[in-house]
């Protein structure tokens, strides 16, 4: 049995961090969101430009991402800033309050002045921060962990070192009763038959094939070839020649476990075990979806060296080669290049990853947390209206 110390939330979930955040529902409030966060040390602002002037499918997706972020297990308290009529801030608060979560909304709707609203926000955040500092931790089993699996800035080593090692870890935690979520539908293109074969039943397998097909069709319908954005220029410099080759490396992160469920962007899995989430290959948006879906920690392999993180979840960076580790040690937590030059096995690095995951769950700060890499963006499906 493996355990970690976490923060138990009123909805039953368990967090590995205890953040107080401020998040906006619409782009116009982004500046005020940052301003109010700056008033209280330690509060994390999360801003974005989604939430308005969008197609219905995007509004829905934004709402799911905001709900999943504000109600995340790593969040102790969330202040949600909105504006005007029909704003979603109050609805988000209602949903989360029903689950007993500590949330508050301020709607800039002309009933109070800006300075009054900022004062209200500051007071609430100060209380929330104090409240968070007094929250106890408790021991929890790793079966309560959801780990997101991501890659960014991939190279030809990704599919040989870091991704298979993440796969070995994924198989271990699944065996221990935990959950891992593979993502990036773009990078399933060309390999969908392999994952579909591992589905627990025909319906899950079919859903997986459907989202991959929908993905490629969405690009064709807009007159574009998905393969011209992927692999990216950096991927090619790193030795990847085609999307299929990138994909074959990408899905290695999923190990060999049975695919239990296929979920939409920012949706929380209902099953435990190995899961697939429909996200774009764009790493920041993919990580935001994985985290909104409940991942407390994200594993992120990189060959070229990508520093990005998440505002609320620790992201563990796994370098694919030792040269990268020597060049950019500040951004890499684990060097999977040792599989090539230090005679370590994929399983050895898988174990190292597992130990790191437990240690990070217990509070060890990752490189992306240390450097305040708090990038956040919600996957957009269509044009801004």
């Amino acid at each position: 049995m493996k355990f970690f110390k976490g923060y138990r939330r009123s909805d039953g979930s368990i967090g590995v961090r205890n953040h107080v955040i401020v998040i906006n529902t619409v782009g116009e409030v982004a500046s005020l969101t940052k301003k109010v966060a700056q008033m209280v040390p330690g509060v994390i602002p999360i801003v974005h430009q989604a939430g308005q002037s969008q197609s219905l499918e995007d509004i829905e997706q934004t709402m799911n991402a905001l709900l999943g972020t504000a109600g995340h297990a790593n969040v102790s308290g969330a202040l949600i800033l909105g504006m005007g009529q029909d704003d979603t801030a109050e609805e988000i608060v209602k949903v989360l309050k029903n689950k007993g979560r500590h949330v508050h909304s301020i709607n800039f709707n002309k009933t109070q002045s800006i300075s009054e609203a900022l004062r209200e926000g500051k007071l609430w955040l100060e209380n929330a921060k104090e409240r968070s500092e007094n929250e106890p931790t408790e021991m929890a089993d790793v079966s309560e962990l959801i780990i997101g699996l991501e890659c960014g800035g991939s190279d030809a080593w990704s599919g040989i070192t870091a991704n298979p090692a993440i796969g070995a870890f994924s198989d271990s935690i699944v065996k221990d009763g935990g959950t891992s979520i593979l993502a990036e539908t773009t990078e399933a293109v060309g390999t969908e038959h392999i994952l579909a074969r591992r589905a627990v039943n025909e319906a899950v397998g079919q859903k997986f094939l459907d989202i991959v097909k929908r993905y490629e069709e969405r690009a064709w319908a807009a007159g574009e070839n998905i393969r011209s954005a992927n692999p990216s220029p950096g991927n090619k410099v790193g030795g990847l020649t085609t999307l299929e080759e990138k994909s074959l490396g990408c899905i290695k992160k999923g190990g060999n476990s049975t695919l239990m469920e296929v979920i939409d962007y920012a949706q929380r899995p209902t099953e435990k075990g190995f899961i697939f989430m429909d996200t774009p290959g764009y790493d920041v948006e993919s990580v935001a979806g994985l985290v909104a879906g409940g991942s407390q920690i994200v594993l992120f392999s990189t060959g070229k060296g990508s520093p990005t993180g998440s505002p609320i979840a620790p992201v563990i960076k796994i370098g694919t080669n030792s040269k990268l580790y020597q060049n950019m040690p500040e951004h890499i937590d684990i060097n999977a290049g040792k599989i090539i030059d230090s005679y370590l096995s994929i399983e050895d690095i898988g174990k190292e990853i597992y130990e790191k995951v437990i240690s990070v769950a217990n509070g060890e700060v990752t490189s992306s947390e240390k450097h305040k890499n708090q990038e956040f963006s919600i996957w957009r499906l269509a044009e801004t209206m």
């Binding site: 500046s31 308005q52 319908a221 764009y282 500040e330 269509a382 044009e383």
Partner: protein
């Protein structure tokens, strides 16, 4: 020449109302580094956004054009572009597209082996530029050297009744004085497209407006599949409001209809297609070369642009309509010469007076999406 302001002359003949050192991220992955450099060096403004990788076609082109556009903006004294290295929107490609009229340098996190090195290098480069910028003094420059944006935001028939003819007169006066004016055209103005088209001589530009009046081509995933490209017909109320709003664009001939982060190639009055997202619209105007924007709304707006001053004008309304954010109020029954007062305020702001949004340091930058990311 009737109107002047005190501003910063640029090598390409344009003029700035502010003298910022810009730090531009080519992709979201370098945004934390860009923010940190900017926090460390006073006098710099960060251009961070959510785009730059895993984009295709027109969507990618718009991102690149807008970033090249803000770098070229006359309010930007010099610009540092910070990339990651492996992104689709490469720094080298941006550098090729930016005219060499001001100090521009590009650096990358992977090329410099990490964020810390990149921050140190960025701080040392921009500190030097900030010192150089501080030495540059404001000079008396004709207002006609400027491009001014006019953006109508969240108005209703009631507020339009007060603002539209006043702003129309301001726009006419600016155009008569050879100021380049970009008027934002959002969804609410589209139904008046055919009416505005009568003011355009160029057949291609005219067609763009007539098409807009039929409902813009907005490709949604589900629409694209069905081959449908237009919205349903506008209602009478939408038509009525649009015609009222169109008066805000004055009576002068329209030179062009701008899209995709285009920069106008001749002086005059231009319409720019905008989304209903305030931050994206202001960012598009900054990318098109505007040095200041007049925002006309029924209320104070909650954010401006990091690149340029935004003057907020509202009609006189009930108290608490975010008055702390409003620079100028048009009264219902006043006898003031609003046109002259607004242009005088514009000259003051262009000469360095801070707007309410600038005083509160409320400014953003963002790039619209034309499609999904991959």
């Amino acid at each position: 020449m009737k109107y002047f302001f005190n501003g910063f002359r640029r090598n390409d003949g344009s003029a700035g109302t502010r003298n910022y050192v810009g730090i531009v991220s080519s992709v979201i992955c370098s945004s934390a580094v860009v923010r940190e450099i900017s926090e460390k060096v006073d006098g710099t403004v960060p251009f961070v956004h959510a785009n730059g990788c895993a984009q295709l076609g027109d969507d990618l082109k718009l991102t690149k054009n807008m970033l090249v556009g803000v770098t070229t903006n006359p309010n930007i004294h010099s610009a540092l572009i910070v990339g990651l290295g492996c992104e689709t929107n490469q720094v080298s490609g941006m550098l090729k597209s930016i005219p060499k009229t001001k100090p521009i340098t590009g650096i990358g996190i992977q090329q410099l082996f990490g964020g810390e090195n990149t921050i140190n290098k960025g701080v040392s480069i921009t500190k030097e530029w900030v010192e150089a910028a501080a030495k540059q003094k404001r000079e008396k420059i004709p207002l006609s050297s400027l491009t001014i944006g006019v953006l109508a935001v969240e108005h209703d028939d009631h507020s339009l009744a007060t603002t539209t003819s006043v702003i129309g007169q301001v726009v006419d006066e600016l155009v008569d004085s050879q100021v380049n004016v970009i008027f934002g055209m959002s969804k609410t103005l589209e139904p008046a497209g055919d009416m505005l088209a009568e003011r355009i001589s160029d057949a291609d530009e005219k067609k763009k407006l007539i098409d807009a009046s039929k409902g813009l081509e907005r490709l949604r995933w589900s629409d694209a599949q069905l081959g449908s490209k237009t919205f349903s017909e506008f209602t009478d109320e939408q038509l009525h409001s649009a015609k009222l709003e169109a008066k805000m664009a004055g009576k002068k001939p329209i030179s062009s209809v701008l899209d995709f982060g285009e920069i106008p190639n001749k002086n005059g009055l231009h319409l720019m297609r905008n989304s209903s997202n305030l931050v994206e619209s202001l960012s598009k105007m900054a990318a098109a070369g505007c040095s200041a924007v007049i925002i006309v709304s029924s209320r104070g707006v909650l954010t401006g642009s990091v690149a340029l001053p935004c003057i907020t004008i509202t009609p006189e309304t009930d108290p608490n309509s975010f008055d702390e954010l409003v620079d100028y109020t048009i009264k219902n029954n006043g006898n003031n010469d609003y046109k002259e007062e607004i242009i005088a305020l514009l000259q003051e702001v262009c000469s360095g007076k801070k707007t309410k949004l600038e005083e509160l340091e409320l400014g953003e930058f963002s790039i619209p999406h034309l499609g999904t990311t991959y």
